[in-house]
Structure formats: C-alpha cells, structure tokens
C-alpha cells in the first residue's frame, strides 16, 4: 500500500510530502516508511496529528512531541481546545472535522490563530455524502481570507485512489471560493515555509523566536 501511494504521489508531481505517523510508532519503522518515499524521489516531512480532548492534554502532548516532529497539526475537537491550539506558537496547523457542525473555524479563532488553517479537501469531499461540507469549506476560506490567515490545502488521503495532483487541489479550492493566488500558495509556498521555519528551529544556532547565534563557534 505504502509503495503504491509513493508511486502515485510521484506521478502526481509532488516533491515533498507530509507523512502523518502515529505517536507510538517505533523509530526503525518510521525510517523504513521514509525510505519507501525517498526511493520514489519524494522528500518526507514527519508530522503528527494531535487530537486532544482537553487543554492540559494538548499542552502535555505539545511539550512531548514538538521536538521530535517536523510539523505539528491539531485536530480541534472542541472550542476550548481550538482556542488553545490557535494561540500556541508550537502548533503549525489546525484543522477541523468538516462534518461536525458544533465546532467550525470562526472569526474568533481567526483572530487568535498563529499558525495556518489546514483543509483536507479531497478526503472531506469524497468521504462525505453531505453537501453541507462544501458550505463549511467555503465559509472556512472566506473567514481565512478576511483575516489574512494562511491556508494549507491537502488531500488528507490514506489510499492511493484518493490522491489528487496539486493542480487539482488548488482548482478545487478556487472553485469553492479561495483566490487563485492563495490557492496556489496553499499547495506550494505556505507548506514549504512551515517546513523551512521548523527546520531552522531545529538547528543548533536557534535560541528562540527572533534570537539565533550569528557568529561562528570557531571565532
């Protein structure tokens, strides 16, 4: 399955992928998974999806997993967790269950958000039989554009049949109300800038946000 996914992603024209791995997975298993994608010419960025139910659980998970993953995404299961996730600078992406009408991305969260909002476009549309998903996605795009929140688009696929090319994902978002330029950024430059920023955070010269060592150690 993994090999097939890697081949399809390569055909679709991707160069870097965000691989979501379970938090308890052994390191050698992660290495072998990464190798499958590398063999198909794909760069791999490790990401974890945190689905915490309370503020304390989320903060504990962030403390524990932030250093070992390239990208941290939080699935917002409640309004309270969503507020904490949006405010915390360790969180790169927040995403919502588009079929759940109780918790949606709103103006209050858009004012708080420090990272980006992620929309798993293809899986949401293909899995859902409800047409209200289209409305939820359009509204998310509208709010994000109004508050200048960065948007990341992904297929959210775990099967080769659900993979779509970046051109198609951007087109789907454009059709649902995202500006064409924002849609292109959402599949290309925005995710890459998150990866680059986190790469810098993991470097030895990084002290904290805005502070880093500029003189070489030899001097």
């Amino acid at each position: 399955m993994c090999q097939k996914i890697a081949e399809t992603l390569s055909v679709a024209g991707y160069c870097t992928i965000g691989l979501t791995v379970p938090t308890g997975l052994f390191r050698d298993k992660v290495t072998s998974l990464r190798q499958v994608f590398l063999d198909n010419g794909l760069e791999v960025v490790l990401r974890v999806d945190l689905g915490s139910r309370s503020r304390d659980e989320l903060l504990r998970s962030l403390r524990r997993f932030r250093p070992s993953y390239d990208v941290i995404a939080v699935k917002c299961l409640s309004e309270h967790v969503a507020r904490v996730a949006c405010r915390d600078r360790r969180v790169d992406l927040v995403f919502f269950d588009l079929e759940n009408p109780r918790i949606r991305f709103n103006h209050a969260l858009a004012n708080l958000i420090r990272g980006s909002i992620e929309v798993n476009l293809v899986s949401a549309i293909l899995h859902s039989l409800k047409r209200s998903v289209y409305g939820a996605i359009s509204k998310t795009f509208l709010i994000a554009q109004e508050h200048n929140v960065k948007v990341v688009l992904s297929s959210g696929s775990d099967k080769p049949e659900e993979i779509r090319s970046p051109i198609q994902i951007a087109a789907l978002a454009t059709t649902l109300g995202l500006l064409q330029r924002t849609a292109h950024d959402a599949v290309a430059s925005t995710p890459m800038s998150i990866v680059a920023e986190n790469g810098e955070r993991h470097s030895r010269d990084y002290i904290e946000e805005g502070v880093r060592v500029v003189l070489s150690r030899a001097r």
């Binding site: 399809t8 055909v11 679709a12 024209g13 293809v122 549309i125 293909l126 099967k159 080769p160 049949e161 659900e162 993979i163 779509r164 090319s165 051109i167 198609q168 994902i169 087109a171 789907l172 454009t174 059709t175 064409q180």
Partner: protein, 109 residues
Amino acid sequence: MSRLPRRYLLVRIVSEQAVSEEQFSDAFMSAVRMNFGEIGFARIDPKLVRFDAGRLLAVVACKASTVSELEAAVALISGYSGVAAATLVLRVSGTIKGLRARLAKQRRS
C-alpha cells in the same frame, strides 16, 4: 468568426483495473454535469480528445476560461464502474502539441 481559445488537459488514471474509453467518458462527463449542472456543462464545454487505454492517459479539452472548473470536476471522479481509482491532471496546455512534448519529455526521464 474567430474560435474561442481552448485548454487541453493531460489526465492520468491510476487504477488496478483496466479502464475503457467509454467508462472514462461516462465518468468524466457525469462528473462535470453533476458538480456544475447543465448550464455549467455548456459553459465548460468538456470534450474527450484522446484516450490511450494501454497507458491510461487521456487528453480532455475545455474553454480556456473554465480550466479550474474542469480540473475540479476531474478531481471529483472517484472511480470507474464502481472500482475506486485516482484521476490526476498532470499538465495543462494551450495546444495538444505542448502536451505531446511533455509526454515525450516524461518518457525520456
């Protein structure tokens, strides 16, 4: 009378099973019709230009101003005759010759 500019899309089907031209054409046309309606269908004016059943490649065309709509419609094809498959848009060009050049380049690499 001058012709309206068109765009040609190179489409690749990723499927475990063989897909015939008829199956692709049915799924393609109904995806456009289902998602954009009859008026949208007329506006997009989709056409299946070529189909290669061996390599599972197709060239489809639409009006230049509606490329995004056609790309989105192709993304929403979930399978052929009940079998799940991915349908990927690999390239958009203003001429079929441009798509052919891209295919030749892909084959060389």
